[in-house]
Amino acid sequence: MREKLESYRAYLFLIPGLFFLFLFTYLPIIWSTWLSFNEWNLLSPKPVFSGLENFVKLWQHDVFWLVMKNSFFFVTVSIFPTMFLALVFAILIDERMKGRVYYIYSLFYPTLIPMAAAAMLWVYIYSPNLGILNIFLAKLGLPKLGWLGSSQTSLWALIIMTFWKNLGFFTLIYLAGLQNVNRELYEAAYIDGAGWWRRHFSITFPLVGPTSLFVLVVAIILTFRVFDQIHLMTEGGPGNSSNVIVYYIFENGFKFFDWGRASTLTTILVLILLSLTLIIFGIFGKRITYTAD
């Protein structure tokens, strides 16, 4: 009897949280999913049910496929180097390597400054003639690159900048993950004769598995959601070469005022993220070794 009362009370406490979760998370998702099946834009200012028309139109639209390609490219190219280096830096910081304060500052500074400031900074770094990057390339005798101004390099430029911005964040998560690894394991392996790489390859990497899974999922979601730097640095250009899904959603919704299409894209993004997350947990979820005894 008493227990029952307790659990009622638990639900009671959850109500406000669930209410806001519903209001600000589930409701918009449901609403935008519904809108995906409607024509709603500047020329048709009331939503009109149009079935799958939005999806079909997108399917036939070159820019949509380019944007999809860019998004997946962005994610696949940036995630693994980010994860790997974040882990290596976390290990180095954790091991109290020399000059660590310097590394910590240069890693976390980008994470801490606002994206707008970072974007402005990088616009200058990428400046074709006066930016340090091209000056540096020129010093090395290499040809200068167009960076943000060229469709060959604009996406790469954003990937590099995003890598720089996010590395510290993931390092921090890994640093927390490393605290769960028993130090004695390293000493045991050290005595066993394992060198630095071997120690981390055989012990750290498997043992931060749960952290890596978390980082992977978070990184995929974060990277699929890149927006600010694109908005501020390239506006998706030149010629949509750096346009990715969230920016494309924004463009459709707030520049072209085609809310139906924006909602359709949102639905597609949600589906992509949902299925990627499920696949990842399906593949790795059971195989991960947890450090806890």
Binding site: N182, E184, L185, E187, A188, A189, Y190, I191, D192, G193, A194, R198, S202, I203, P206, L207, G209, T289, Y290, T291, A292, D293
Partner: protein
């Protein structure tokens, strides 16, 4: 196979001195126990030997070779950690084989050694499991197994039993001793538990605050502690200390504690004669005080009158807390004692087993100064 010697080894962490002038020789096949209260520098000493900590001053030799700058893997040692340090993601087999594989042992040799060790430790049927599927005792065995597959000349154990329950601890104690007998290698074993030290060590090293207090066979250390710290640390319940004055009366030396006055036997008197008139600490172990009613032959001068403050029956004997003047002392008496709480009783001290310590730090035994 291997001797180990520490030559005035000091370890500092910043300004903090964790180990000071640690000087110790360990013979081949010896089972040496480092014992002392928590934080006294036992692990640090062991870890310096293992190569996990840099040596600030002094040298450590293994088999006559200075190893200060030798990589741990080349020191021919193996270490068993307090928390076992088993690799959680590897099977028992893999845990034990890991060190051998790193040393590029042939597969068949690895397999043989792992299976042999598993057999010795009776964990053959666990080889496919992961550490989290094992009990505490089983993990302990795997940790030991991981050390013995390497066949090192020196084994290092850092409080290997402290995470086990009391019963298992006693059992494992015996097994480690058997293992030592069987492997015939040098073992250095760290513990804060003096009973473990007494029961296991062929030689024990008592440490306090980074320094060695005494080195010797367990019984020697028990019988003649060099100083008050060792006297108090070794033995359970701990030795009683009472402030007394050495006086001479009736052609003998006496310890005069005000409430009591006990004669020092002639056999010991000569040693202490030079200290006549001094104030010092009189030490007597609880097990060397008897309930007068249960002994036949005793010197009536050795009787202390005291009031019973607490009675703790343990089964095989009874532990009494008794008040003598301002001091409370502990006596371990016959289990059939008729002591009554709050009442006076007579205790007889076995003065042949008494000790005297200087009042000046480090409270050296008066029998050696």
């Amino acid at each position: 196979m291997a001797t180990v010697s520490f030559h005035y080894v000091t370890k500092r962490f910043g300004n903090f001195v964790a180990v000071k002038d640690f000087d110790l020789g360990i013979g081949d096949k010896e089972f040496v126990v480092l014992v002392g209260p928590s934080g006294c520098g036992k692990s640090t000493s062991l870890r310096m030997l293992a190569g996990l900590e840099k040596i600030t001053e002094g040298t450590i030799e293994i088999d006559g070779r200075v190893v200060n700058n030798v990589h741990p893997k080349d020191r021919d040692i193996a270490m068993v950690f307090q928390n076992y340090a088993l690799y959680p993601h590897m099977t028992v087999y893999k845990n034990m084989a890991f060190g051998l594989q790193l040393r590029r042992f042939p597969k068949s040799e690895v397999d043989k050694r792992v299976h042999d060790a598993a057999e010795i430790l009776e964990i053959s049927e666990l080889l496919k499991r992961k550490p989290r599927e094992l009990s505490g005792g089983q993990r302990q065995r795997v940790a030991v197994g991981r050390a013995i597959v390497r066949k090192p000349s020196v084994f290092l154990f850092d409080e290997p039993l402290s995470n086990l329950d009391a019963k298992l601890r006693v059992q494992m104690r015996g097994e480690i001793l058997k293992l030592h007998h069987r492997l015939q290698s040098t073992i250095i074993y760290v513990t804060h538990d003096q009973i473990e030290a007494m029961t296991m060590g062929s030689k024990i090293v008592i440490m306090n605050a980074g320094e060695i207090m005494q080195v010797g066979e367990p019984i020697k250390v028990y019988d003649s502690p060099d100083n008050m710290f060792v006297a108090g640390f070794i033995g359970s319940p701990a030795m009683n200390f009472l402030e007394v004055k050495l006086i001479s009366k009736d052609r003998a030396l006496w310890v005069d504690g005000g409430e009591f006055c006990l004669p020092i036997p002639d056999s010991k008197g000569q040693k202490y004669a030079q200290h006549k008139g001094k104030t010092c600490y009189f030490g007597i172990r609880p097990e060397h005080m008897y309930d007068r009613e249960f002994i036949k032959d005793y010197d009536p001068r050795n009787v202390i009158k005291a009031r019973v403050d607490l009675i703790e029956p343990v089964g095989s004997f009874v532990i009494l807390q008794i008040v003598v003047g301002k001091a409370t002392i502990v006596a371990q008496v016959d289990s059939h004692t008729r002591a009554v709480l709050g009442e006076e009783m007579d205790l007889v001290a076995d003065m042949e087993k008494m000790h005297l310590f200087s009042t000046d730090p480090p409270h050296l035994s008066l029998s050696i100064s």
